[in-house]
Symmetry: D2
Subunit: 345 residues, 4 copies
């Protein structure tokens, strides 16, 4: 039985880690850490945990790297941007296992981070120790695992076969991504106020979303001809779920059948990726509550345009679930441990 700690328990990703790890037979949560909630009992912060005896004893603690390393086998950073950048150094120096759900170590070039996140980056030599691990493609190569962003995960899984197999025109890619409100986090903002978000859709951070560079960096590792992509994000009035519509023109002499085969081949051995049957496009209900990515394909011969519809649960595959999948790989657990879940209505 491995012991883990969670930093950032009060946020949605932290709580989702706790929820999923509750069903993981190989792992126990031994410590939870926060900032504004330090000293509170976990059951006071989340009254809905009052009935669970195993959490009655947990109190939210002040971050303490030495304590974590002394009591746990791995730590999750489920923190807003900027926290891991400050606090990760001790773990990295000690080569203590970290899974970082934040964006702080996703970009290895400090100037790129500072441009897109508008805050100071961690040191380049620390950034270099982190491994960006897209769990359905990669296994961890170092102890510091940088967990991909929610939009980035959906977009990369949507595009991977196209880039790996050179199937499209790289200047034609349009990604129209929509996310539920839990993706906007727990912080109170005008755009996440119920009256503003309900019965509404809004596009935000046009051409400025911080997941763009991690997407491009990863695509480059698959396809050197990668060009900038057009990437938009909209808020939709649901709690959970990312729905990505991707459009691209097929390369010369590439048929839709080839494309379909490439998706099926790429994901044949991926337990958590489902390529839908011909003619079927997935909806959010396909994946809510699960670590699954579901992908559907369509093609318009009049415009030579491929449509790829990809859905994930932003809190599971887009955050805590992929983090646990990465942990499972890291500890050589069954990949499905804690994640073998059917979608919930």
């Amino acid at each position: 039985m491995k012991k883990v700690a969670i930093i950032g328990i009060s946020g949605y990703s932290g709580l989702e880690l706790l929820r999923l790890l509750h069903g993981h037979s190989e792992v126990t949560v031994v410590g939870v850490y926060g900032t504004s909630t330090v000293g509170e009992k976990l059951t006071a912060l989340f009254p809905k945990l009052q009935g669970y005896a195993e959490y009655a004893g947990l109190t939210i603690k002040q971050f303490d790297a030495a304590e974590i390393m002394a009591t746990a086998d791995l730590v999750f950073f489920a923190t807003p941007a900027g926290i891991a950048a400050i606090h990760a150094a001790d773990f990295i120096h000690a080569e203590f296992p970290v899974i970082d759900l934040s964006g702080d170590f996703r970009l290895q070039d400090p100037s790129q981070y500072e441009k897109w996140y508008a805050r100071p980056a961690s040191h380049a030599q620390l950034l270099a120790k982190a491994d960006y691990v897209l769990a359905d493609f990669d296994t961890p190569k170092t102890a510091y695992i940088s967990n991909p962003g929610c939009y980035a995960t959906a977009t990369l899984l949507s595009l991977a076969p196209l880039y790996k197999e050179s199937l499209i025109q790289y200047d034609s890619v349009i990604v129209d991504a929509k996310s539920g409100l839990s993706g906007a986090g727990k912080k109170l903002t005008d755009s996440s106020h119920y009256v503003n978000a309900n019965e509404n859709v809004s596009m935000y951070k046009l051409n400025q979303h911080q997941h763009i560079p991690e997407i491009i960096n990863k695509l480059m590792t698959w396809q050197e001809k990668t060009l900038p992509i057009q990437f938009s994000t909209s808020l939709i009035p649901v709690t959970r779920g990312i729905f990505v519509s991707t459009y691209a023109k097929l390369a010369a002499d590439v048929s839709f059948e080839q494309v379909r085969e490439a998706y099926e081949k790429t994901y044949r051995d991926s337990y958590f990726v489902t390529v839908c049957e011909q003619g079927h496009l997935p909806d959010l209900h396909h994946v809510v509550g699960t670590n699954v990515t579901a992908i559907g394909l369509g093609y318009n011969p009049l415009t030579n345009t491929l449509t790829v519809v990809t859905v994930i649960d932003n809190l599971v595959k887009g955050a805590a679930g992929q983090a646990i999948q990465n942990m499972n790989h890291f500890f050589n657990f069954d990949e499905k441990a804690g994640l073998d879940l059917l979608p919930i209505l």
Copy 2:
């Protein structure tokens, strides 16, 4: 490993049974049965199951009691009213274990059933073989377990300590219950059409809800002074959840402290019932996705009125979860098997 079959797989309760049993380590689903969907592959009916290899081989079969008894150890009826009434006889004669999520065997008096359900009742001698099992209070005494209704479960757990301990004036009880739309089932109706239900609340079946008699019957077993209660049901625009506000005047010389102690005592050993701390009332998020019933209490000395707020997930505690809890008791499994879940956002 026990083998179970599900009749009525295409409905919400049937699918929820499948979802919860997916995480139950002692049980396998070996057969799924339907009516209008007979012959379809389960993954065709529910494309979201396409990625789960264990369900690839399941095809929805025509009901066949002999086959079920030959291949399974227990069967769930997750069917609309009227189906179990017709098809349960063979199981009852064979004393084969059945958990019936429908209302067909909840009322042992055929005339009472026919009055409230407006359809023919099963035979009185068959009805007499069924045991109405409220899982947090009862353990099965016969092989035919009649699973309580969703509203009835929330209401009975809300009222139990008051009736058992003679704490209230029995002519003063008002139950204002609200349910999400999954409680209205999969059948297409005007009231479950999105545009009608969204941004709306409506009260329905005033004084005519078919869960009223099972509530009264059960209350009578706890308290012979039971009188008719006022019971209202409203639809609220959420998918899952029942929220019950209960009001009652305290009996003479009964204090709020006594009431609180009665709740705490009654539910001290109930893993799935949480009595919230003083001053805290539960909301639906407390229980969504879990088998938990959460209860909060308030008292107004000016009106001598107790307010009890009780929440459940109608598809879990109100249907599939309680059915599994009853199955766990029946098979002497750990009560929590398959049901040890944290609430999901």
Copy 3:
């Protein structure tokens, strides 16, 4: 053409006043006032007004009673609690027409206000100048019109015939009221955060809601035997609408037919109150976007309990619409001016 000013334009009631007055042929909005938004153009605060030429010139101004009295014929306070208490004095001394949508002048006893609002009351002699005007029953007697609260309006219209005609047992009244999120205002709070409010229902301020005293005070004017009532408020996941379920035991020798006749008689000449036909209960869609109150009735002879279901749009009848109805009465306009609207889906 009368000229009006709005104080508190940035809140939901202020904007709703603007929206409704836009369709009022006898009134022009000549000034808009705020606090944190002073100096902003109205179209900058609300980009959705950019296309409306008549608002292009409006800039949000600092409160200035003298200016308002010099430029307008009437002023609306659409402000949070505490603002009118501070700023109303000049208007009252000048007997300048005010319609105050806040709670500041609804309770004429300062100590009652301070108990329920937990903030300093205005002076008793100023409070005495205010007239609490429930628009479907009262016409303004002074220049300072205190507009009833949203819950109070729905509850009072729900109960009026019962109290006026002595039809019920006064110790048996239970009001279970539910409101959409716009009732919680524009302020960012945990309970109005989308992820918290969506797919949820929660009861709040149990026995402590500040509308309780204005309800009781008004009931007392109708019925001297009035006793405390049991009053609960819950948040439901809709933007607009209040749904009130009221329960009461009929007095001895009172029949349901008498009750129905009392409602029909009471509201026969009320354009904005609809008593639904026998057997029909209203839902929120009945009234959204209108100034209408719709009331449905049911009776349970087993419990001798009357159920009254009353719905209003909290921003119209519960705030801006009733304020305009009061203004129409004050200025002797057609009562329907600006308010002759069909419900919107």
Copy 4:
């Protein structure tokens, strides 16, 4: 005062016509026609109209062209596909004014209609009498006005300046359109069942939506170089609203400034089209309840891609509102009559 009749009163567009015409000072609804609801009183079909005396006398009548022409000055077809195709002939022969909200006369080539609508077209000589009138660009040239589709309206207004002014590469256009559930109509379907639509997004009719040909036909009138466009439609969990994200690559030597100027010039005199200020993108709340189209622009120099975000209320601008705007033009009323509305929360 003109008199109008509505065919298809029971559908969402028919009821929305009634709602908007209620506020139109120059028009009275003198007859309402249906099919399955013939003989019902309007207030029985819509209990929420019970309080409105002006509708108490209206009973839903069987279609009768002669009666309509004898009693009204204009008729609206607010009917599903196929009804106007059958019933319009008499009106066309008599040159009686019709505004047809259905798709039956939008495509003048019968074979094109039959391909996209999968049902028999009206006769070619009748189709030739119909005029497709996009209200912000066109005024009616004949008595038979074919009102554009909801998606088509939003898409055409989104693209007009680009095609009229030759600003883009015509093979690069991607339209990702999302609609609320009222766009799916009143018919009960699985996809409009609350539990299925709530907390979900789904793409449908990929490359097969019947609004595609009317879009292309209209674009061709503006720009002969028009090529097929990529057009997707998704359902989003809101009642009202269409949100269209459009992407296109700018033509050689065209700057974003030129594009912005083209939009501002094109819509300078359009009361019902708002081009948002630089940096602002509209959301659905910008237009809900109004006849306004709001358009926002963004540009990505890395991909040379223009993003156009366009929002409308599908029931107003996308149906009943544009129909009234067309009627206002036809009768030479003020264009804003009945449509001068602020957005509703």
